[in-house]
Point group: C2
Chain length 336, copies 2
């Protein structure tokens, strides 16, 4: 039984100029839109996550309270539910899937809110990782329509190091000849496993492993963690879908568009939304230094570093203390 | 023309119990041994480095001055010059090469010094990365024979996170079916390239890329750096040799032997050598926290963090400021 809706658009012109036919945004809603349509929250999904993976921050006892807010969770393209290599018709299927930017996604999300719900202003855009990228794009490109943002362990543009990390992951996946340039018949399992084993070092911190916190995630040993958590996670994923999302991630940049013409600081300065920016202290892909630079150029932003050794995962559901930290910040932000 | 010597041993019993026949230590010497044999420095090699790569710290204007010291540069097994998968006879060739530990190496180095030169005490063991591991092993296993150590961007035991990083690298290399379980005819080029692209993110820091320091290494763009520096570097290397050295790296632990029986703190406390321990502030594989723990348990050690954004490469030859920092510390240590 499907627990999400879809917003279908016959033709979408992407930033690249390519037209994507029968584009689809899969999304889930929580709560009710109030009479003056002032209680909408946009809470997009992260790399390969779906609306299901976003549940952990939503609840009647949480800041994202469906009794008070109308929470829209749009799935990022490439995740297998929204338009993706795995569900698009030729010639845009599989390795033919065009590059879809974060801005392309945000524009689709905005159409969904306007055309289906008549919402032209959102109370908050919040999200972790690639969802934080979406929050930044919302605020930079539509400053008059976004009251607050809470980017968690993400960035307003992908840094060169972050790009390099992703190059390593792509190379590991595509080193498997079963990948066949994206035209695989059977999944490239060796490459998917290699990607999982590689990702394991990046997603969590040195201190996470030093303190054996994989045990809290149910693995007795490091090798068990690599096989049972990381390899299994990546074996469930579609290679072309991941490559599509990595393309999106690598091209994320709030100023790479006609509005800002590459002027990153101008784009940051244009963000008027009240923001609490929450990098994780130990995130190896989005280090706090990059967030500090963003905050310095934003008009109404606070840097609030998550004091965690869970690395990038501090922004996710894995560690209750981090979830509580983020939830407190969201409560405060929404009350302000 | 060969610029190194060899020390050949007919049979070596390894820590594993396996006997390696015709074991070879390739080494280079600089300077002259003095009459009382008190001026010997051991300066081993790093991952896939050779004695050639160690030249940058040696010179008459440097702390490692061949006019004053007798500097022995032993090549680490697996580097293609000392015993390695690529140069050993069956059944120990290629993927049949046995696991050789850091301690196995240090024992061979010690035999070289004693049997060929009559040296039973060294003034200093110094080295970067896997060579720092060798310095720690010298000091922990032969405390009465080592006056000083200077481990640079290395560790006394391989941390779980460092192990995971290496698992990712192995997985990228071996995802290439041309690897054939180590029985490749032609080099697994796709896997070697994937390993190079993956390694690029780990060896240097986020800030290194943020500040575009790859330009100082001769690459105009990140992609050029990945292809011209990283892929080329790994394409020159033998896959089995690298896997042998990764095995050595992953198993590095000063307490994993009959002397210390796994008691890491006991092994650290047994180090009596005067030490200056130099992690790089931004090293993603040997973060300063691990070095601080080591120093805390050592009797005569100082933690001196290299203030650098060159990541792990702060211990190498790439950045003149880092070389100067290390050289000053070595000068001070040798004078004390």
């Amino acid at each position: 039984m499907r627990n999400y809706e879809t917003f279908d658009v016959e033709k979408v012109t992407l930033q690249s100029g390519i037209t994507l036919s029968n584009a689809r945004l899969a999304y889930q809603v929580h709560g009710k839109l109030n009479a003056d349509k002032s209680n909408a929250i946009v809470y997009p999904t992260r790399f390969y996550g779906t609306h299901e993976d976003n549940q952990f921050l939503i609840g009647t006892d949480m800041a994202l309270n469906p009794d008070r807010y109308f929470i829209v969770v749009p799935n990022l393209t490439g995740n297998g539910l929204s338009s993706s290599p795995s569900n698009t018709s030729p010639p845009h299927d599989r390795s033919g899937f065009p590059g879809v930017t974060i801005l392309d996604n945000v524009r689709l999300q905005r159409r969904l809110l306007r055309e289906r719900y008549g919402i032209d202003r959102v109370a908050l855009v919040v999200g972790w990782s690639m969802a934080a990228q979406q929050a930044y794009h919302w605020a930079a490109l539509f400053p008059d329509e976004v009251e607050r943002i809470a980017p968690i362990a993400g960035s307003a543009r992908t840094s060169p190091h972050n790009h390099v990390f992703l190059e390593g992951m792509k190379a590991a996946l595509t080193a498997d000849s079963a990948w066949k340039g994206g035209n695989y018949v059977d999944p490239p399992k060796t490459g998917l496993r290699a990607m999982g084993r590689g990702w394991a070092g990046w997603a969590l911190s040195q201190a996470f492993y030093r303190q054996h916190l994989y045990r809290r995630m149910g693995s007795a040993t490091v090798e068990e963690f690599l096989v049972e958590f990381w390899e299994e996670l990546f074996l469930k994923r579609d290679a072309n879908n991941m490559l599509a999302q990595i393309w999106t991630w690598q091209h994320s940049n709030i100023s790479d568009n006609d509005t800002y013409m590459g002027n990153y600081e101008h784009a940051l300065r244009s963000i008027s939304a009240k923001a609490i920016v929450m990098p994780s202290e130990t995130d190896l892909y989005f280090p706090p230094d990059d967030s500090a630079y963003e905050v310095k150029h934003m008009a109404n932003a606070e840097l609030r570093i998550i004091p965690s050794i869970w690395g990038h995962y501090a922004g996710g559901a894995a560690n209750p203390d981090d979830v509580a930290f983020v939830n407190r910040a969201l409560r405060e932000l929404l009350a302000s």
